[in-house]
């Protein structure tokens, strides 16, 4: 039981520490640990440290960025992560292979089918387990629906960070329909816990299919409304074009992936580069753009939504009958092996390196999140721009702190 003498009343004057005004300084109270830190926190004349703290209306989660600004212009920045670090990898090591599914769900909470797929696909690869075709098609259907809802959220968020209040609500209408659909088969709206090692948890039902048919008949009409509001809007275009430009070489060297990479001209999409599941049988294109600025990334997301709608259409029509789950024992013991899988999530290449040691617990489950690497591009893109642009650029990189902080 808790010791009652430890819990003190809030009226006790001793517990109120007088905070000096210097706590508002963004300079950390310990000496710098590396030369980069020393170089960063050494201010020149006219520079100021602005703390875009973990609580901020537009840092996409709990991201802290210490900006070194000169007036309105950003000179340098130091992102500080870890505010959402939950120790997912360690927890996975202490649980079962099945527990890892619901542990890894909140890594990409916006489109959690992708992060769920990580332990599932790694286990299947380690076991050399063939997944039934119907389950594969259902997985592809759910993945593409998740991709559309994630991109819808991205578009709304991007506009919100620029000041437009309306597109995010249109995006949420779109997203709401999709999550209601998925709730009909998975039972959850956000963290689905639907994929299982060897298949999926439940078959498609009438509710899901009717909602899906309904939605497909409109097929992103709300998103089209949102794009009409934004695409030709002079203010929006002026603020996004030429901003946060990444060229091909920098993109490859910074290990970017996903729309950020494809907007620079590199046509790297894991679904085509290293196909998995039933993607080789589906017919879709990989949209690419060459400008590499925020506006290109925004347009790329819209193109990807259209491609996803095509994939959903094909998956629906070609869905075979059959079992949705392979025959596996309830307690899975995987012989010692190592495996790496990668899938294409809305943010980029989601990868997982799994090591098994013969017991029923994973030995090492390393999740590689694309937002983690995409966010590093920020260090190159932001300096030289204004503070207002830094929000726009961060939004266009589409980071999800759940995966970045694991």
């Amino acid at each position: 039981m808790t010791d009652p003498t430890i819990i003190r009343s809030l009226d006790d004057p001793d517990i109120w520490v007088e905070t000096p005004a210097t706590i508002y300084d963004a300079v950390p109270p310990y000496p710098p640990r590396t030369e980069r830190e020393a170089e960063f926190y050494d201010l020149r004349d006219g520079e100021m440290l602005l703390n875009l703290g973990p609580q901020h209306p537009s840092t996409h989660g709990v991201l802290r960025v210490v900006l070194k600004i000169d007036g309105e212009k950003v000179v340098d920045l130091d992102p500080v992560l870890g505010y959402l670090h939950r120790g997912v990898e360690k927890i996975c090591e202490n649980g079962d292979w099945h527990h890892a599914i619901s542990n890894c769900d909140p890594l990409e909470y916006v489109a959690s089918m992708f992060s769920e797929a990580m332990p599932v696909m790694v286990a299947e690869k380690l076991l050399d387990l063939p997944v039934p075709r119907r389950a594969e098609y259902i997985r592809v259907l759910c993945w593409e629906l998740n991709r559309i809802s994630s991109h819808a959220l991205y578009m709304g968020w991007q506009a919100l960070d620029l000041g437009g209040l309306t597109p995010i609500l249109y995006s949420f209408i779109e997203r709401d329909e999709i999550v209601e659909m998925l709730a009909a088969i998975t039972g959850q709206r956000l963290l689905f816990n639907y994929l299982r090692i060897g298949g999926v948890n439940g078959d498609l039902n009438h509710d899901f299919l009717s909602r899906l048919g309904d939605w497909m008949s409109r097929a992103g009409a709300q998103l089209e409304a949102s794009t009409r509001l934004l695409n030709e809007n002079e203010i929006f275009v002026r603020r996004m074009s030429g901003l946060g430009v990444v060229d091909r070489e920098t993109a490859l060297r910074t290990c970017l992936s996903g729309p950020v990479l494809r907007a620079t001209g590199v046509p790297y999409d894991v679904r085509r580069a290293h196909p998995y599941s039933v993607y080789p049988e589906l017919d879709f294109d990989i949209p690419t753009r060459t400008e590499g600025d925020s506006y290109a990334r925004y347009l790329l997301h819209i193109d990807e939504v259209r491609e996803s709608i095509r994939i959903i259409d094909q998956a629906l029509h070609e869905m075979p009958d059959g079992p949705i789950m392979a025959k596996i024992p309830r307690l899975i013991r995987i012989p010692p092996a190592r495996a790496w899988v990668a899938i294409e999530s809305p943010r980029g290449q989601y990868g997982c390196y799994g090591m098994s040691d013969g017991s029923d617990q994973p030995f090492r489950l390393r999740i590689h999140d694309p937002s983690f690497f995409n966010l590093q591009a920020m260090t190159d893109m932001l300096p030289g721009n204004l503070i207002a642009d830094s929000m726009a650029i961060m939004a266009s990189l589409d980071p999800i702190m759940g995966g970045i902080d694991k």
Partner: protein, 176 residues
């Protein structure tokens, strides 16, 4: 592969869609550079960089992808001691490896020589343990935390006693 074959410390393995090679820490810089820049390989995309604690030693595992081959390349740098693991950094080839190496340092204590910004990325700056190591025990960490002196709510088990099964594992996944 033969060009760098003599650097390998173990056989080249292939399974499903991944080719795996093992090297020693001192060969990291050259092998990575060759694999990245050489026209026969052109593994331009570093897919992942992570640390592994196998119980007896530490490893750093790189995953690479090239447009020329359908396989992934897994490079395992093995033989790092558990007390002082040091590996040369690959940030000279890929800027994006910087944060991944910071994470490996934070979680395992692996020092990447040449990374100009090797500080903790997830844990607070005054943290004293490396969480993902196999000998990491949470009660030890709590005892060393700044909250020391205040009892936490419940600690039914003693330090060293695991909840379900031993934390330290014998053997690794070296046998395939």
């Amino acid at each position: 592969m033969e060009a760098v074959g003599d650097r390998f410390s173990g056989p080249l393995r292939q399974r499903q869609d991944t080719t795996e090679i093992r090297i020693r820490p001192q060969h990291v810089a050259e092998v990575m550079r060759t694999v990245n820049e050489d026209d026969a390989f052109r593994f331009e995309i570093l897919a992942d960089l992570c640390g592994v604690d196998t119980g007896t030693e530490m490893q750093v595992v790189y995953h690479l992808w090239s447009a020329l081959t359908p396989d992934w390349l897994r490079v395992i740098v093995e033989g790092l001691s558990r007390d002082d693991p040091r590996v040369p950094s690959v940030t000279f080839l890929w800027n994006g490896a910087e944060w991944a190496e910071r994470e490996a340092y934070d979680m395992f204590g692996i020092i990447f020589e040449g990374n100009r910004d090797l500080r903790r990325i997830y844990m607070p700056p005054d943290y004293t343990s490396f969480p993902l190591r196999k000998d990491f025990l949470l009660p030890d960490d709590a005892a060393r935390s700044p909250g020391e002196g205040f009892r936490h709510v419940e600690q039914p088990h003693q330090p060293g006693e695991s909840l379900r099964r031993p934390v330290l594992r014998q053997g690794t996944s070296e046998q395939q």
